[in-house]
């Protein structure tokens, strides 16, 4: 159980590294934003696996806060991309 969870945790961390590759190499601005969005969702998965490993529940709070901040940030950047002001 613990070794398999370790393998899954390291796989998840490697996948967030893949998102960093897309953020660095992305040819356009929206590519980088896609990378940031998916990176946030992967970090929530990492938080969930760590909360199972350490048997503590407060790590899931970090995940919930990260979901909400990622949602607001992506909506704001989408408004910026479509060229509108933020109060339209």
């Amino acid at each position: 159980m613990t070794t398999l969870l370790n393998i899954l945790l390291y796989t998840q961390i490697a996948l967030s590294g893949v998102c960093l590759y897309r953020i660095i190499r992305g040819p356009s601005i929206p590519d980088r934003m896609v990378g940031v969005d998916i990176f946030g969702i992967l970090v929530v998965g990492i938080c969930a696996i760590i909360s199972i490993q350490t048997e503590r529940s407060f790590i899931l709070d970090i995940g919930i806060a990260w979901i909400i901040l990622s949602f607001i940030g992506t909506l704001t950047l989408a408004k910026y991309l479509s060229g509108k002001k933020l109060n339209e």
């Binding site: 159980m1 398999l4 969870l5 899954l8 796989t11 998840q12 996948l15 893949v18 998102c19 590759y21 897309r22 356009s28 601005i29 929206p30 590519d31 934003m33 896609v34 990378g35 969005d37 998916i38 969702i41 992967l42 929530v44 998965g45 969930a48 696996i49 909360s51 199972i52 529940s57 899931l60 709070d61 995940g63 919930i64 979901i67 909400i68 990622s70 949602f71 992506t74 909506l75 950047l77 989408a78 408004k79 910026y80 991309l81 479509s82 060229g83």
Partner: protein, 108 residues
């Protein structure tokens, strides 16, 4: 028993995340990449949280997982829709292999 069910859900979730990240690297343009990434990664992380729910049962951590699942599911899809709409208005070109573009007529 609950440990085995939660482990199966977490393995399925990490496999979905793996497919989504392969899509992020391999697909040709930003529209395809966002489509693959959002579907696979949202389903994968929701599956991991379902695994957490099975592991902890209905204790405080399980309730937090229940709260996080709808937030992630609806928030991520809505954010991806807004992001791809903004990308189209920003003027990113579609890939060369694209067959059909219905949204171009709808914008006019």
């Amino acid at each position: 028993m609950n440990d085995m069910i939660s482990l199966v859900f977490i393995v399925i979730g990490v496999l979905f995340n793996l497919l989504g990240c392969i899509g992020i690297i391999r697909l040709p343009d930003v529209y395809n990449r966002l489509q693959a990434a959002t579907k696979c990664v949202t389903l994968g992380t929701c599956s991991i949280l379902v695994g957490v729910l099975f592991y902890f049962g209905l204790s405080d951590a399980g309730i937090k997982a229940v709260i996080a699942i709808p937030l992630l599911f609806f928030g991520s899809t809505v954010a991806a829709h807004a992001l791809i709409r903004g990308t189209y208005h920003f003027g990113v070109k579609l890939s060369d292999k694209t067959v059909k573009d219905d949204y171009k007529d709808a914008v006019k």
